[in-house]
């Protein structure tokens, strides 16, 4: 599979009167890594949920390679090549890594279990129940489950959350390498600016449910509104690689 274009137009999510997302537009180019940043409560995870089908947007549309998937279920979107990871580790705790990766592989057209396990350094842990591996390994397992089947579009919701700086850098390298190898389209939600600036080609900045700006990392990093709302000093620290 190769990367696909994902477009969201006018995505609005309301929860009992609270507007979590307000007419957000994004376009993910095939084979690109885009970052989605913003302070806590900006609506980043809500947008990922709306794109992946976990929640239905109150308004707006989502398309994948030109096909409208707004009303499609999670399973139908997955079959069209959309995959995601989660902010909180979302794995099968009682199953061994081998079993859960095998279950995921059976649902996929591309059988890449060995490649994913090797790429994410999980091979030696395949016979261990997921609840017994370290948090960092669980985060990589979460990512591995999303990568099984070589998705066209991958939505990563804070894959480095809770990892050490070294683990985060390692993960960023792994993601970049896999994306380049498989030409996957990626939307990355991440607070670690080092990770974001090191691998993203374009950035979307959300603030209070609205799209503040978007563009290449250098442009976004120089944007005064973004610095005021979110980046602050981290704009000077990140993106050195």
């Amino acid at each position: 599979m190769t990367g696909a274009t994902m477009e969201a137009r006018g995505i609005t999510c309301r929860f009992a009167g609270f507007v979590a997302l307000d007419s957000v537009d994004i376009t993910l180019r095939p084979g690109s890594i885009s970052g989605l940043i913003g302070p806590n409560g900006a609506g980043k995870s809500t947008l990922i949920n709306a794109l992946s089908g976990a929640i239905a947007p109150s308004a707006g549309s989502v398309s994948l390679d030109g096909h409208d998937v707004t009303r499609m279920s999670i399973v139908e979107r997955k079959r069209r090549g959309l995959s995601r990871s989660f902010q909180k580790t979302n794995i099968f705790p009682d199953l061994t890594l081998r079993t859960q990766l095998a279950v995921a592989t059976r649902a996929a057209t591309v059988k890449n279990m060995d490649e994913v396990a090797e790429g994410l350094a999980l091979t030696e842990l395949l016979d261990v129940p997921a609840r017994d591996i370290s948090y960092g390994d669980q985060r990589r397992l979460d990512l591995a489950l999303a990568l099984i089947g070589r998705p066209k579009v991958l939505l990563l919701d804070e894959p480095a959350a809770g990892l050490t700086a070294a683990e985060s850098r390692d993960l960023a390298r792994t993601i970049k390498s896999l994306v380049q190898r498989w030409n996957v389209t990626v939307l990355l939600v991440e607070h670690d600016m080092e990770v974001v600036f090191s691998i993203c080609e374009q950035l979307y900045v959300l603030h209070l449910g609205k799209l503040l700006t978007h563009g290449d990392p250098q442009t976004v990093r120089a944007n005064k509104d973004v610095i005021t709302a979110y980046l602050g000093s981290s704009a000077d620290e990140g993106g050195d690689e």
Binding site: V75, K78, F92, T96, R106, E124, D127, D137, L145, A146
Partner: protein, 333 residues
């Protein structure tokens, strides 16, 4: 990145058995049961043993729902009773041959459970348990209130014709031969369940049990697999119900009552619901307490209650889980 498991014991591989070994074990299990009536002369003991096996099959049906679907049912007695009544009614009213009666008694509760399962399996936790309670009690009420057909609380007696499945029907009435029948059904169910549990479908249902949301995100619909497991559990309960009906030649509404569903749940919890053979072990323990403590006091359920509390607090994996961990400890030495 770490490549070491946090819990060293966790590297223990599951027991994997090749097909020839499994078939050998199956043959040995069947043969050992067939030898029991030759070693036990007492008809009373054999009768008690076969009733315990029927209850073990019933408890297994409750355990299947817990292990594969992560769901607790208070309504399995409904399917057990439905199967027992269908077999009894069809034979007593001579609506069809006894062979067809048995087939119908297995198929109808299974199909009913599948259809109901498609509607209810998405209901979470306690709410699911309450819905199953309602389903079980609805079936009980049919047996209790539909007097023109079921004879209400007077129950329904029936006699088998001379032959069933080309066999002398006395086979189903004699404790020695019926023990063998029940044992064979029990062993085949356990082996079938073990095969299903290890199969890709069994792995999928356990994944859905662990994390239904993630199962959808890796591409699976979660309703159909859960409904199939619900139907399979009902089929196993129906097998127990048919055996009960054939052996006793009598059915009454009490067999479909929720309290029997509750007993099945207690058996599964005592024995270890996450083990294939755990609920059956729990049924044997439950049955033994009922028979032994029941000789001394009508308050025998209090003993069961005390054991249930102790197991829940001290060994949540049940007696079966305790045996497995002891076995593992000995094996590692």
């Amino acid at each position: 990145m770490s490549a070491e498991p946090m819990n060293p014991s966790a590297t223990r591989r599951d027991w994997t058995i090749t097909m020839p070994v499994a078939l050998l074990l199956l043959a040995a299990a069947l043969a050992s049961g067939m030898a029991v009536p030759m070693m036990i002369a007492s008809s009373l003991l054999l009768s008690l043993a076969l009733q315990a096996i029927i209850e073990a099959i019933f408890a297994t049906s409750v355990g299947i729902l817990i292990k594969q679907n992560g769901r607790i049912s208070f309504g399995q007695a409904g399917f057990y009773g439905a199967a027992a009544y269908i077999a009894a009614l069809v034979v007593e009213r001579e609506l069809a041959s006894p062979e067809l009666a048995i087939v119908l008694a297995l198929v109808i509760p299974t199909a009913l459970a599948f259809v109901l399962g498609l509607l209810i399996v998405k209901i979470p936790g306690i709410a699911f348990a309450m819905v199953t309670l309602a389903i079980g009690q609805a079936l009980y009420e049919v047996a209790y209130k539909w007097r023109p057909v079921t004879n209400g609380d007077d129950g329904l007696a029936f006699s088998l014709p001379d032959t069933v499945f080309f066999l002398d029907s006395d086979i189903f009435l004699s404790p020695a031969s019926m023990f063998i029948v029940c044992w064979c059904v029990f062993v085949l169910i356990l082996f079938g369940y073990a095969w299903l549990s290890k199969s890709p479908f069994g792995q999928l249902t356990e994944a859905i049990r662990d994390n239904p949301e993630r199962a959808q995100f890796i591409g699976y619909s979660i309703t159909l697999p859960r409904a199939l497991i619900y139907a399979f559990a009902a089929f196993v309960a129906a097998c127990a119900g048919v055996l009960f009906s054939l052996y006793n030649g009598f059915v009454s509404p009490s067999i479909a009552h929720w309290s029997f569903s509750g007993a099945g749940l207690i058996m599964a919890i005592i024995g270890g619901p996450r083990l294939i053979w755990g609920p059956a072990l729990g049924a044997i323990v439950y049955f033994w307490i009922k028979e032994v403590a029941g000789d001394y006091s009508d308050a025998w359920p209090a003993f069961v209650g005390a054991i249930l509390i102790a197991v829940t607090l001290l060994i949540p994996s049940g007696f079966g889980g305790l045996l497995v961990s002891l076995f593992d400890r000995v094996r590692r030495r």
